[in-house]
């Protein structure tokens, strides 16, 4: 009996392979996008901690004084702990292979004889006696030890000549260094870690010598000996070192970075769920169509006495199989998608947060479970409505050859009230973007906007159909009247497709508007703030503005160039604000007040504020930091400096779209006094009115000479770079939009094909009583047009509300930026035209097929 029920339940899957395929594609696409994008984001974000693990080895604690260097003398105090832990002093520097766009990597200065991280590469086996040749090369300051994997990447990514087998030329800061290259064999197990970190090694003494870091360390990793309690050791170390030197787990910084990336990941996850919703609607349509096609069969089974639960099982089996198969296919597709999008996501993370080398995308049991749950959940959600429909079928329907007919006319008050409430909630959140539920308000608002659209889909379709009925009847009397009648009859089914289409369009509208708002806002901001004419930066900088520095001594000769009117020496480094990583900037506020501009959040003139900042412990902070830390002008921030902990009064909050990590900006004079750091990250040059950037650039290059490797960029290029970063940041949304649109179109195609299949007999009757193939095709096309028009019009309304929520609520609480809402009209209108035509084209094949069936044959089909 069970086998027969299973066979009966699964038969529709085999009989309607096309529909089964489309439904599977819908569920699988939704699951794939959710799993794939999350996998890619996870792989990118996880690379922070993987890099941290790679450079910390087996160490359980890290002693550091970030963002300041650790005096090498602190090793003396740490020596007291040598019986309880192994100590691994470390220095680090970011290098870039000397080539245009050369590969960036980290050079670690470690004790190569004892350090387990170098040992982990397999070159130095701790149990084997050291080879004399290798010992000699270790102490040779000209030899850089590069793991095979990284050497391969350097060779592949660099143009011929930049990295050869025996030597490597790299830029660190503004200087070029040539190293002999010693390849270090890697054990397979370590490849992943060293690849994630992209690390090469130099012995600590040569490192200090070559990079001018004598007497300094960046940190000391502490590896407790067996039996030593980590927490106890940690508190003893902290007590012994005292002051501001911190003792933390080595991955702490990476975890801080990963926590910061949570908002990026959460945003992506929310966007991917939308594809799943559209997939659910597609599956709903297909399953409902299956139930409607099997009315006779279900009615007969009811007449023969099948129990409710058994009927539910029989019908639910189809959904179950689709859910499971869709889940499995979705996870596998997700893996492919993740590998495809990893580059885009990693590039975004690298540019916005810090240089990473993404690890491989790997599927875990958790992904399989999540994928299958998503697939099954989508199928169960999709099956609920059709199942309810099936349970309503009366036992005698098949005997009387009854038709379901048009749904009863009932004003959809419930839906309209619910839609009004959802819209009111979204509008309330727009009106009050801050308040209860911070962190979730954006999602609630977006969900409310989409819910409003979905709830209105059916009523709006009915309204539009009635509104257009006289026009259709006038334009094309028989086909138009037929289209209106059939659309009204199938309005519940078509309403679901309208919902799928409107969701897809609203999502595209919302995401495109968010991107456009970013573009317009950042363009305006860049125009207002990037007023210097030339920007001089170290050539080694690969992403973060903290990478690479230049000497302060360059300021005077640069300012003395006849082409240059003024110079702003700007320093950027990381700092900790109550344990949270943010950027610390120090610029010449006098120069900024004279030539530049700092757009303040309150819209006031920045010049008096800039004048007040000079010389005192005052600070400007960026908008994202102010929002995240609930800071405002009049408050203060406390920072650790080499001269002690100081408080800086916040003068004003300024708009900044360069980073959501947040900036604290001090006057350079104050910074020099408190931080005793004269290095410069960027020289901003203001040129005399009659000087072209090209001429000034040539003068700068001539001044610095061939030994200094800097990048001199004009403002136009900087703005292009800002746009490029922005474009990359949102590149992943293009893929999401595409999937949503494809799934929605499949839903439209599936609905129209199913409706035509269900109406085959009616079409046969129409042909018998005088309808031409053209009239029938036209009627179906008009029905498709109605569906598309309703979906797109309501989608535009929903999209407008969604975009406002994304821009003013979600973006504000995720990143802390204030954006100007802008809609890319050209793109949204072109997409609407494309979707409209695509929906019409989707109706053509089923319509032509149905109209070509001979009437006698069509009428004989049940």
């Amino acid at each position: 009996m069970f086998e027969q029920v299973v066979a009966l339940g699964l038969r529709p899957l085999r009989r309607h392979l096309g529909r089964t395929f489309v439904t599977l594609v819908g569920v699988a696409a939704g699951v794939a996008v959710s799993i794939g994008i999350d996998l890619a984001a996870h792989a990118s974000i996880r690379s922070f901690s993987e890099s941290a693990r790679a450079v910390s080895g087996r160490a359980a604690l890290r002693v550091h004084h970030r963002p300041l260097a650790l005096p090498e003398s602190s090793l003396m105090r740490l020596a007291l702990f040598q019986d309880r832990a192994a100590l691994h002093p470390t220095l680090e520097v970011v290098a870039r292979a000397h080539a245009s766009n050369g590969t960036a990597f980290t050079i670690l200065g470690v004790d190569l004889l004892t350090d387990p991280r170098y040992a982990a590469t397999g070159a130095a086996a701790p149990d084997a006696p050291p080879d004399l040749e290798s010992v000699r090369s270790i102490f040779d300051s000209g030899t850089l030890l590069v793991p095979e994997g990284l050497a391969e990447r350097l060779r592949n990514a660099s143009p011929p000549g930049a990295a050869r087998d025996d030597s490597l030329s790299v830029i660190v800061g503004t200087r070029r260094y040539r190293f002999r290259l010693a390849l270090v064999p890697e054990r397979a197990a370590d490849r992943k870690l060293t690849a994630a970190a992209a690390v090469a090694f130099l012995d600590i003494a040569p490192f200090q010598e070559r990079f001018g870091r004598q007497g300094e360390l960046d940190w000391v990793d502490v590896e407790p000996k067996p039996g030593v309690d980590r927490e106890q050791l940690r508190s003893q170390l902290a007590a012994a070192l005292g002051g501001d030197i911190r003792v933390e787990p080595p991955e702490e910084r990476a975890l801080q970075m990963e926590r910061m990336l949570d908002s990026y990941r959460r945003n992506l996850r929310a966007l991917t769920l939308v594809s799943l919703i559209v997939g659910v609607l597609l599956a709903y349509n297909a399953l409902l169509s299956s139930v409607l096609q099997r009315r006779g069969e279900i009615s007969l089974l009811r007449a023969l006495g099948i129990s409710g639960p058994l009927l539910a099982f029989l019908l639910g089996l189809e959904a179950l199989v689709i859910g499971l198969a869709g889940g499995v296919a979705g996870v596998l597709l997700g893996l492919v998608l993740a590998r495809g999008s990893l580059g885009v996501v990693s590039r975004t993370v690298s540019e916005l947060y810090g240089r990473i080398a993404p690890g491989a995308v790997t599927l875990t049991l958790e992904h399989w479970i999540v994928g299958l749950c998503l697939g099954l959940g989508a199928a169960v959600l999709a099956a609920a409505g059709p199942l309810r429909e099936a349970m309503r079928i009366r036992p005698l329907e098949f005997l009387r050859d009854e038709h379901p007919g048009a749904p009863p006319e009932r004003p959809p008050w419930g839906r309209l009230i619910a839609a009004a409430l959802a819209a009111a909630l979204a509008l309330y959140l727009l009106w009050r973007p801050d308040g209860w539920g911070t962190g979730a308000r954006g999602y609630i608002g977006a969900a409310a906007a989409l819910l409003m659209g979905s709830l209105l889909a059916g009523p709006f379709f009915t309204f539009l159909t009635r509104l257009l009925a006289p026009i259709f009847a006038r334009i094309s009397p028989p086909a138009g009247r037929l289209a209106i009648a059939t659309a009204m009859a199938a309005r519940r089914r078509l309403g679901v497709s309208v919902a799928a289409l409107l969701l897809a369009y609203a999502i595209v509208w919302g995401m495109a508007s968010l991107v456009e708002s970013f573009r317009v806002t950042v363009d305006t901001w860049a125009g207002a703030t990037l007023r210097a004419d030339l920007w001089v930066t170290p050539q080694s900088r690969a992403g973060s503005p903290t990478e690479g520095t230049m000497p302060a001594a360059w300021r005077a000769p640069l300012a003395a160039l006849p082409e240059v009117l003024d110079v702003d020496a700007f320093r950027v480094r990381e700092t900790l604000l109550d344990g949270e990583i943010c950027f610390l900037g120090a610029g010449e506020t006098r120069v900024l007040a004279k030539h530049g501009y700092l757009p303040l959040v309150d819209g006031s003139d920045p010049r008096p504020h800039l004048a007040r900042t000079a010389g005192g412990r005052n600070a400007f902070i960026s908008e994202p930091l102010a929002r995240r830390r609930h800071l405002a002008s009049g408050d203060s921030v406390a920072l650790d400096t080499p001269t002690g902990r100081h408080r800086y009064a916040i003068i004003a909050v300024y708009r900044d779209y360069a980073s959501d990590r947040g900036y604290i900006v001090l006057d350079r004079e104050t910074y020099l006094a408190d931080f005793r750091d004269s290095l410069v990250s960027t020289y901003a040059l203001y040129l005399r009115p009659d000087v072209t950037p090209e001429r000034a650039s040539a003068a700068v290059s001539a001044l610095l000479g061939p030994e200094e490797f800097v990048r001199v960029t004009d403002t136009k290029t900087i703005r292009q770079e800002v746009r490029r970063v922005l474009h990359n940041t949102f590149a992943v949304t293009d893929a999401l939009e595409l999937v949503a649109v494809i799934v929605a179109l499949l839903s439209v195609l599936g609905t129209l094909a199913a409706l035509v299949l269900e109406r085959t007999r009616e079409i046969g009757v129409l042909r018998a009583i005088g309808a031409s193939q053209g009239q029938i095709t036209k009627a179906l096309l008009l029905e498709g047009a109605l569906l598309a028009a309703a979906g797109l019009l309501l989608g535009a309304l929903t999209g407008a509300l969604l975009s406002a929520v994304l821009v003013h609520v979600l973006n504000r609480e995720s990143f802390g930026w204030t954006l100007t809402l802008a809609t890319p009209w050209r793109r949204t209108l072109l997409l609407a035209a494309f979707l409209f035509v695509a929906a019409l084209l989707a109706a053509v094949p089923p319509a032509r097929r149905a109209a070509s069936i001979p009437p006698r044959e069509a009428m004989s089909r049940a």
């Binding site: 050859d401 009247r481 009616e762 009757v765 042909r767 009437p855 006698r856």
Partner: protein
């Protein structure tokens, strides 16, 4: 007299102006094992205004013959003329025009469009033929009144009873003033009372309008309204009453 001869109209005059004439009609359906011969050498002439009943058991070829008369199916061999015009070689477009202008259909399972009202179902053939406006609606309404459904004109067909649906189907079959109405088991899906009502209406309306009616049935009651009753067995005409 052979059965074929018996199927011919009695007068030569009627033959000249025949509503429908079938000569040597064969219809064979290809099948996996052996071809199915649905009609074998059927010849039949139907005079204008005549009511002809096709009688026979299931599978005797009644519906196939009706479908060929209605140009819904093409014969494998033989010729078919409607109102003196040879139609078996016509293109699909011309056949469509013929169906719109000259033929009306009543089906066993009513085949109304359930989401259209009774009035819209009735007027549909006129719309499809390009006849619009109040005149079309007026004609449809008068036919609905003639079948006793004036008060249910705006009710969706899906919510009518079986007898009411078939009465709407009768009105629809007559709305374009056809010369020939073809009814396939028009009472096969109705109870006795409704069947009698529908038959009375059919007979009354075709007589009143001078329309020719060919109905396929295995009901003796339905056959009683016919002027001639033609019996089919295994695709051949075997007798006439």
């Amino acid at each position: 007299m052979t059965a074929a001869e018996a199927a011919a109209p009695e007068s030569a005059a009627a033959s000249v102006a025949a509503a429908a004439r079938l000569e040597g009609i064969f219809k064979t359906y290809p099948a996996a094992g052996e071809d199915v011969h649905a009609l074998r050498d059927v010849s039949l002439t139907v005079a204008p205004g005549e009511i002809v009943a096709l009688l026979g058991r299931s599978g005797s070829g009644k519906t196939t013959l009706l479908n060929i008369l209605g140009t819904l199916d093409r014969p494998t061999a033989g010729s078919l003329s409607i109102a003196g015009q040879r139609v078996d070689g016509l293109a699909e477009r011309e056949l469509l025009k013929l169906r719109r202008e000259s033929l009306g259909f009543v089906f066993q399972f009513f085949h109304l469009l359930p989401y259209l009202s009774a009035l819209e179902n009735t007027v549909l053939p006129l719309w499809l033929a390009g006849v619009q406006g109040p005149a079309a609606m007026l004609r449809a309404r008068s036919l609905l009144a003639a079948v006793g459904l004036a008060d249910k004109a705006n009710r969706p067909a899906g919510r009518l009873s079986g007898g009411e649906m078939q009465r709407v189907a009768v009105a629809r079959a007559l709305v374009n003033s056809p010369a020939l109405v073809l009814a396939d088991e028009p009472t096969g899906n109705l109870d006795q009372a409704n069947a009698e009502t529908v038959l009375d209406l059919l007979r009354g309306l075709v007589r009143e309008r001078g329309v020719t009616l060919v109905l396929a049935t295995h009901s003796d009651a339905a056959a009683r309204i016919a002027d001639r009753r033609i019996r089919l067995v295994d695709g051949r005409i075997t007798g006439i009453d």
